[in-house]
Symmetry: C2
Subunit: 336 residues, 2 copies
């Protein structure tokens, strides 16, 4: 099945590049609201499901046990830019469980936020595991392991109780069993579980509303959404999509990017869950597409829509800041 073109990149009068993809919007009862393209094929959601993974942290009782703060819960759901206050938050989170950077089991990289990377170099610093965009999620896994009373060593292994619990949460919320063949290894060495866009949209509708979830899980989801709405900068960083959109729309939207062109979102007031994947994995197209789809389901007079419009149809500029083109949603994304 050919997924349709959902985003076009224009330069001058011509379409320079185009991005195909699939979109699923479902409600918390599991009913289809909108689908575009193939929403049944398993895709790796990557970091787009970090908030669902963080349910394990909540259900382990780590908030009470370690006194985790809102910004730390937001970091557990984050793909952060490695800005100094992100790092400070992760260090604090690890310290609450009696751990430090040495417990993090994945490679180091320079901050994704270029000004922070350059400032780190200027100050004589170097890349560390803390700067990895996933360090908050890993601090969350480690706090979960400690709160569950199990050995945190090798917490990234698929057989570790934390990763087993993550898989069980994803299966329960998505309503789909995840076979072993649908398990890959993520950029930060933890398992990533492929799921259909249908299952992902249903999972986020449930995450956003609590409908159909056990009482404790519904409360955990509400706390995570509230933390991200209160501390959106900790979910991504300066100028980035998830931060900007949640800063504008607050608790009316939860949205999270995943690598290789994935976004998942929840619109609690509308009772909807959204999931999309760009076939080719392009972040620019995934951003423009999720901004377009979220805007379709918000009230016309919502003051937060302006932030979405800038991401849905960004003007492309060159190094001189001269406009040279734009991204725009295709008819398939606007009309289906």
């Amino acid at each position: 099945m050919h997924n349709p073109v959902v985003i076009e990149a224009l330069r001058g009068a011509l379409v320079e590049s185009q991005h195909r993809g699939a979109v699923a919007v479902f409600d918390a009862e599991g009913a289809r609201v909108l689908t575009i393209g193939d929403v049944d094929r398993p895709i790796y959601p990557r970091s787009a499901v970090k908030a669902l993974r963080a349910l394990v942290l909540m259900e382990a009782g780590a908030v009470e046990r370690f006194g985790l703060q809102k910004e730390e819960l937001a970091l557990a759901c984050a793909s952060h830019g490695g800005e100094p206050d992100h790092i400070a938050g992760v260090v604090a989170m690890l310290a609450r469980a009696g751990l430090d950077e040495g417990a993090l089991l994945y490679g180091k990289h320079w901050p994704l936020h270029q000004p922070s990377a350059l400032a780190l170099a200027r100050s004589g610093g170097t890349a560390s595991a803390l700067h990895n965009n996933c360090s908050g999620k890993h601090a969350g896994f480690l706090c979960a392991a400690c709160a569950m009373g199990c050995d945190p060593t090798n917490y990234v292994d698929p057989s570790h109780p934390v990763q087993q619990a993550v898989k069980a949460v994803l299966e329960a919320l998505g309503g789909e069993a995840i076979p072993d063949a649908h398990r890959g290894v993520d950029g930060c060495s933890v398992p990533t579980f492929a799921m259909s866009l249908t299952a992902l949209a249903r999972a986020f509708a449930r995450f956003g509303t609590g409908h159909g979830l056990p009482r404790e899980r519904a409360a955990a989801a509400r706390s995570l959404r509230a933390a991200c709405a209160a501390r959106p900068w900790h979910v991504a960083g300066t100028g980035r999509f998830c931060t900007e959109v949640m800063t504008s729309l607050r608790s009316r939207v939860f949205v999270k990017a995943g690598a290789e062109g994935v976004y998942c979102a929840a619109l609690p007031e509308q009772g909807l869950g959204l999931a999309l994947k760009i076939d080719d994995g392009a972040s620019r197209a995934a951003e423009a597409a999720i901004a377009t789809v979220i805007a379709r389901f918000l009230p016309r007079d919502d003051a937060g829509r302006a932030a979405l419009e800038g991401f849905a149809r960004p003007v492309l500029r060159n190094w001189n800041r001269t406009p040279i083109g734009a991204l725009k949603p295709s008819p398939a994304l606007l009309c289906c």
Copy 2:
């Protein structure tokens, strides 16, 4: 028309992302050798035609006038990483025409080569126009303008004699007129002219062989190819595709990347020109695809093939350097 999938990105047992595209291979007489997908639609070749643009520099007599060296000719054809010796070469080139960085009319950016950017920050330096990946091309335009005896001011304007000469060269080599509607603005503020992959492949077959070109132009093309084969590091930089492939295959291949998923190449011994565009603009797919197509046309026992194989089927690793998947050419790219 749907272009076929040409490159797949695997993670674990699943295809995570896929890239569609079109490929044209023509000979210097203009005959079709291989086409995949739509090779008639105009696409912006971006930096993939820098060597064709540099013919204007050669034909202006700049080599004799300014005593340009091989590495400077390679820089005129380059998208360099902003490593220190790239910058030194561009400074030298500008000085030969009595100019300096102030003549460069486009925005500044930090070196694309991350170790060079971090070293620059560590030493207290900052981004400049010299670090822009196109600074060698611009130094070439300025030398061309000076050698032609025309005012170099505003050399990026479509009406400037240098840009008019560039357009005439592209039309002559490609055998297609370029209407005004097919002119866009490039990342570095010069005009970029959309052409079909057919025209681009024919142009590079002529550039690679000299067949069908006036004697002076054929000699200019030969000098540029020889300069890039002798100084491949100056065409891109440490570890980059064009540099690695031309280092391995020397004068047997000329290859150059363009932004948004474009590659053009010439195989002089086979008398072929190659051009491809990935629909979504992904560099990773363009690299894997051009490596695959070049390898198809080289002798089976060519010792330079090994460098291509690593780019055609790269193993994807995460931050821990653990293999998590691979890129691979699709049947459409291997069998048509």
